[in-house]
């Protein structure tokens, strides 16, 4: 015999991919009864492994998944509700966008035209303004901002409520 017995890995390699084995291993197995017995045992095992029954599920996978994907009546209702909300929101956003552009145009006309006409004296409007008037403007801006924040908070709660419904 040319060498020591083959290891378990080499024996398996011999069965699964004889071409990939080195020549010395092949010569050894051909002349070694012990290794031949091991090869026979592994061959039997590998043949039995490939003939094992394929595992399967004891339930209908397609039906189960389809129920989830297509949806139960409750899920369908939820999806419809979500779709309605999405449509409502899209419409609302469109209206808001139009209103926004309208407001911007109005502001431009109301403030922009006089500002352009009186542009030379505009500087004095801010330098000669009284402290009381300035505070009034700032207070109005603060109240406006506060109202906007409250509106956003209210809207946020409405959205969260409709998502959780």
């Amino acid at each position: 015999m040319s060498r020591a017995h083959l290891s378990a890995e080499e024996l398996q390699q011999y069965i699964l991919d004889k071409q990939g084995c080195n020549a010395a291993d092949i010569v050894h197995v051909d002349s070694c009864p012990d290794c031949q017995a091991q090869v026979a045992a592994y061959t039997l095992l590998i043949s039995a492994l490939s003939q094992q029954p394929a595992p399967g599920f004891g339930f209908d996978v397609s039906a189960m998944v389809l129920r989830q994907v297509v949806g139960s009546p409750v899920a369908v209702r939820r999806a419809e509700h979500r779709a309605e909300l999405t449509t409502d929101r899209a419409t609302e956003r469109r209206v808001n966008r139009r209103t926004g552009w309208g407001m911007a145009a109005l502001i431009l006309m109301v403030a922009g035209v006089p500002a352009w006409l009186f542009r030379r004296s505009a500087y004095y409007v801010f330098t000669d303004i009284s402290a009381v008037f300035l505070y009034l403007i700032l207070a109005a801006a603060a109240v406006f901002m506060l109202l906007r924040v409250l509106h956003l908070v209210k809207r946020y709660h409405q959205i969260i409520h409709s998502i959780n419904k």
Binding site: Q51, G56, Q68
Partner: protein, 158 residues
Amino acid sequence: MTEGLVAHIVCRLISNEEDRKDIVQDIYLKVFHHLKGFRFQSKLSTWVAQIAYNACSSQLQKKRVPLQVLPEETVGGDGTPADGSILRKELSGIVQAEIGRLPPLYQALVGLYHQEELSYQEMAEITGLPEGTVKSYLFRARKILKEKLLPTYKMEKL
């Protein structure tokens, strides 16, 4: 199309039937929701199998079940009857029982290689293990099974 492959992974890794149901549902819903993200860098079946393996692996981790730890008596133990009455046709049943005693990961790899005929590379992609590790686990699994079957085989020859 992928059900057989997913069954190989889920049935080998998860023993509880109810857990299997939940996991299979979870796997296919993930596939459904992430299908848009599939970039054709591997076969679709490999991608689905990868999702299946990860889902099972997470489940086992949650339950603290080791994927690849060998029971102490696994190697060299003898799960076959000692009276030599085993016939060749019973061999398949014995192999099946012995596969069931292997660690879950070994069971899955044995099934994927010998029944689904996946390559080492595909199995490495699915499990996220290096190809060498996959080979090594498979060698070890077969060695364990052979040790169990050797007495049977010898008796059959007699």
